[in-house]
């Protein structure tokens, strides 16, 4: 039966039985899709399995890739506006060769109300890492600025479209050196606020959660002719 199980797992796209130490948090969108799919047969709805109406794109596999990067030691907050710096890294090797990327969305969750009471306005800067560095030996440097966004209050997970970047990484994996994330604090601050800021930045480091939602379409499983007519 183990042999049969192994064959079936390969059919599911797995090399061996997964044994995750703990489950990753599942975003609402994935839970909603699976709940809708479970309800569809009873509602008599025939679903097109190659179209994700919740995201409005063609695709038959959704993957939520965890961030495998690390925090970088930023300077003291009293000296600079930098609150935290982090290398974000996503391993795209799970995406198979024949798959076509239709969505690559970075999700950044800064945590629940960690800086709400304090009231500093944060600014978030995302850059592509300049070049692949040998981890642990050289510090990743920010390259081309990808996004700069003001975050005046906690507003849930922030989302960034990384489709073009991810396509590039997918075609040339050696180009995937990750993303450089920096969270900055805007405005002038007095000594007391600076003290609180240290605490806020430490909380942000603990609560920050990044993931990459990737949707792919397998042309062998999703023929153009199977698409529903509008």
């Amino acid at each position: 039966s183990q042999c049969q199980e192994h064959v079936f797992l390969q059919f599911l796209g797995l090399d061996k039985v997964p044994s995750p130490p703990k489950f990753q948090p599942v975003p609402y969108i994935l839970r909603k899709i699976i709940q809708d799919q479970a309800a569809a047969p009873s509602a008599g709805v025939s679903e097109d399995l190659c179209y994700l109406k919740e995201l409005g794109v063609r695709g038959n596999v959704l993957r939520l890739l965890p961030d495998q990067g690390f925090f970088l030691n930023s300077k003291k907050h009293s000296q600079t506006s930098s609150c935290l710096q982090k290398l974000l890294y996503f391993n795209l090797s799970a995406v198979k060769e024949k798959d076509q990327l239709t969505i690559a969305q970075l999700g950044l969750d800064l945590g629940p109300s960690t800086y709400y009471d304090l009231g500093p306005e944060l600014e978030l800067a995302l850059s592509l890492v300049q070049k692949a560095s040998v981890w642990g030996k050289s510090i990743p440097k920010p390259g081309k600025l990808f996004a700069l966004q003001s975050v005046p209050w906690p507003q849930g997970a922030l989302r960034f479209n990384l489709l073009d970047v991810a396509k590039d990484w997918y075609i040339n994996p050696q180009k995937n050196a990750g993303l450089f994330l920096e969270i900055l604090v805007k405005g002038d601050r007095d000594v007391e606020v600076n003290f609180q800021l240290e605490d806020t930045c430490a909380k942000l480091r603990r609560s920050l959660h990044a993931s990459l939602l990737v949707v792919t379409l397998n042309p062998e499983q999703c023929h153009p002719s199977s698409r529903k007519r509008r």
Binding site: V17, S19, P20, Q24, V26, R31, I34, E47, N91, A94
Partner: protein, 114 residues
């Protein structure tokens, strides 16, 4: 004309039976996040020649049943799924990726002789 179905053998005729797959029974609950299980069903029952035409049979099953009547060495048609539907599964792989994928032909909706 409709073929009369013998009442006594009805329960033995090819039809769909309920089968709930509980992932915990397979140890798959350790990596499948949702669903916890699903009603997969299965097909079981006899496909006698006299009822082949009334049991959602394929033309091939009919021919096989006909041949079985001529030569008993040839097995009877068998009870198989004739309509299947997909399910979606949310699971976590060894790289901690959370994956949502649709799998076709996971649930037996209808059975017939084939």
């Amino acid at each position: 004309a409709a073929i009369p179905v013998p009442k006594a053998s009805c329960k033995n005729l090819c039809h769909r039976h309920q089968l709930f797959i509980n992932f915990r029974d397979l140890g798959w609950h350790k990596w499948i996040i949702a669903p916890k299980g699903f009603m997969a069903n299965y097909c079981h029952g006899e496909c006698p020649f006299s009822l082949t035409t009334s049991l959602n049979s394929s033309n091939y099953a009919f021919m096989q049943a006909l041949m079985n009547a001529v030569d008993p060495e040839i097995p009877q048609a068998v009870c198989v799924p004739t309509k299947l539907s997909p399910i979606s599964m949310l699971y976590q792989d060894n790289d901690d990726n959370v994956i949502l994928r649709h799998y076709e032909d996971m649930v037996v909706d209808e059975c017939g002789c084939g």
